[in-house]
């Protein structure tokens, strides 16, 4: 029986995983495409990169597509795979060992009717993780596997660290929740490691991840800037394009 090939099934999407490359083995070619896109941003005068920029850059670099709105945790897809795309800024790329990834607004009040989150910290924390798990399930309904693609950037957008991890649901039983001095909630694993933060005011959910050893570090050379006048000349901009009306109520 072990010599038989995998059977072809009607619902083959999740069975036949499509991974363009293994985690930790992203080809240099894709990194260079990401680098080129960043050079483009810098040339056109951009001083920073948004989450949407990052999602679009990575989608184009791997030949995938961005979603207009997230599908659960997923922002982009390529074939049968999906990614949640995150980017964070740091002063020193080489010294960073962990990142805090803002991972959505999880409202136990809206999702579970928990009006006062402080009444039962553990129950609230469980609800926060359950909401995350629900979003992960949504993504896995249509794609598998689902990864997070994290780009850590420095303030001048010239140095970067990129890594990926497979996204999974969390086992609620493995995390203990406490309230910290800032009145935020912290989730700790069985080793006492701080893994999650949740803010009651705003419902922001943050996952704290260690940067893995297989992360890729890369730099880009800063290009000269595209000038406004050069662009306007290229566009043949003319003041007659503009219609101005002064409304008096």
């Amino acid at each position: 029986m072990s010599d038989l090939k995998e059977p072809k099934l009607r619902d083959g999407r999740n069975l036949h995983k499509h991974e363009p490359y293994l985690i930790g083995e992203i080809p240099d070619e894709i990194i260079r495409k990401v680098g080129a896109e960043i050079v483009y941003l810098l040339y056109t005068g951009r001083k920073d990169m948004t989450g949407n920029d990052w999602a679009n850059i990575f989608a184009r670099s791997i030949g995938g597509q961005s979603f207009d709105s997230p599908l659960g945790v997923a922002d982009i897809c390529c074939g049968n795979m999906a990614w949640s795309m995150k980017t964070v800024k740091t002063n020193s790329i080489s010294k960073a060992t962990s990142v805090r990834l803002i991972s959505g607004r999880n409202s136990p009040d809206y999702s579970y009717g928990i009006e006062n989150p402080h009444d039962d910290i553990q129950k609230t924390g469980d609800a926060v993780l359950a909401i995350w798990n629900g979003r992960v399930q949504i993504a896995y309904r249509d794609f598998s596997p689902v990864r997070v693609g994290v780009l850590i950037r420095n303030y001048s957008m010239t140095e970067f660290c990129f890594y990926e991890e497979t996204i999974h649901e969390y086992d609620l039983k493995k995390y203990t929740w406490i309230e910290n001095k800032q009145n935020n909630f912290e989730g700790h694993d069985e080793n006492g490691t701080h893994c999650f933060t949740w803010q009651p005011h705003g419902s922001q959910f943050t996952i704290i991840e260690q940067i893995p050893k297989n992360a890729v570090y890369f730099k880009v050379k800063k290009p000269p800037l595209l000038g406004l006048d050069t662009a306007l000349k290229e566009l043949k901009f003319n003041e007659s394009w503009v219609t101005i009306m002064r409304n008096k109520g």
Binding site: R32, E37, V39, Y43, T44, T97, Y217, W241, M245
Partner: protein
């Protein structure tokens, strides 16, 4: 021979409140056309502040917590841009996110389990005092403080532009109620909603447009500078990207 005196030019002068010169509007449209050419299809608050600063030949001042975004001589502006729903029209109010009013941070003596909704008027007073303090601080050195608001449509080809004086509000003039989404709304004496506050600290001012405002349009040009063109112009080669394999334990001295 006495040195040539430095004279103020029209670039140095500030226009009267809400009498925005045509040239400023034209400068704004140039930058919007430029953004489209760069492939940017949305206008952020930061970008709007930068554009307005260039249009009035002022200085852009980025700060997360202070009101002034643009400064020129003895005037500063808080620059706001909003994109209301398609059904919005100028007879309706502009709903403007106006900062984060964090009551716990600003009033550290508040009890840990203070219920923001138990006495809504009291909470509302604290919310407005935070705004008032921010305005007071901003006007300490520059008394002419203005709000410059750009209302943009979904397609970024039709805009409304107006200026208003940046003011403080008298908390006694407003009553507050919790709405069905768990937010606090402040109402003036005529029952109009003027403020909104979320427990997440977001503070919103709901204001009618002034009696005069500018409406300007200009068509999308549809051109975009392409990635390949840029890479050619900057002389990009794959050598522009350095990829390193870093042993983190060695790098961190472990």
């Amino acid at each position: 021979m006495s040195p040539t005196p430095k004279l103020r030019t029209s670039r140095d002068s500030i226009h009267p409140l809400n009498k925005i010169p045509r040239q400023v509007v034209l400068e704004i449209t140039k930058h919007l056309a430029f953004l489209e050419y760069m492939g940017v299809d949305e206008l952020t608050g930061d970008e709007w502040a930068r554009i307005f600063a260039k249009a009035v030949h002022g200085a852009y001042k980025k700060s997360m917590s202070e009101l002034p975004d643009v400064i020129k001589n003895s005037t500063f502006w808080s620059a706001k841009t909003i994109r209301p729903a398609k059904t919005w029209n100028p007879s309706k109010d502009a709903v403007i996110i106006s900062g984060r009013n964090n009551l716990r941070q600003s009033y550290p003596d508040l009890p840990k389990k203070y219920d923001f909704f138990e006495k809504p008027d009291e909470t509302g007073k604290m919310i407005l005092e935070i705004w008032n303090e921010r305005v007071k601080l901003a006007k300490q050195n520059i008394s002419d403080g203005r709000e410059i608001v750009l209302i943009r449509n979904q397609n970024l080809d039709s805009f409304i532009l107006y200026e208003k004086e940046l003011i403080q509000y008298n908390p006694e003039d407003y009553t507050w109620k919790k709405n069905n989404r768990g937010n606090l709304w402040g109402y003036d004496s005529e029952g109009n909603n003027r403020f909104r506050w979320q427990v997440s600290t977001q503070f919103t001012i709901v204001e009618p447009l002034p009696s005069t405002f500018i409406h300007f349009t200009f068509p999308k040009h549809g051109k975009r500078i392409l990635l390949d063109e840029v890479l050619k112009v900057v002389g990009y080669s794959s050598k522009s990207v350095t990829i390193e394999e870093v042993n983190k334990e060695s790098a961190n001295g472990k």
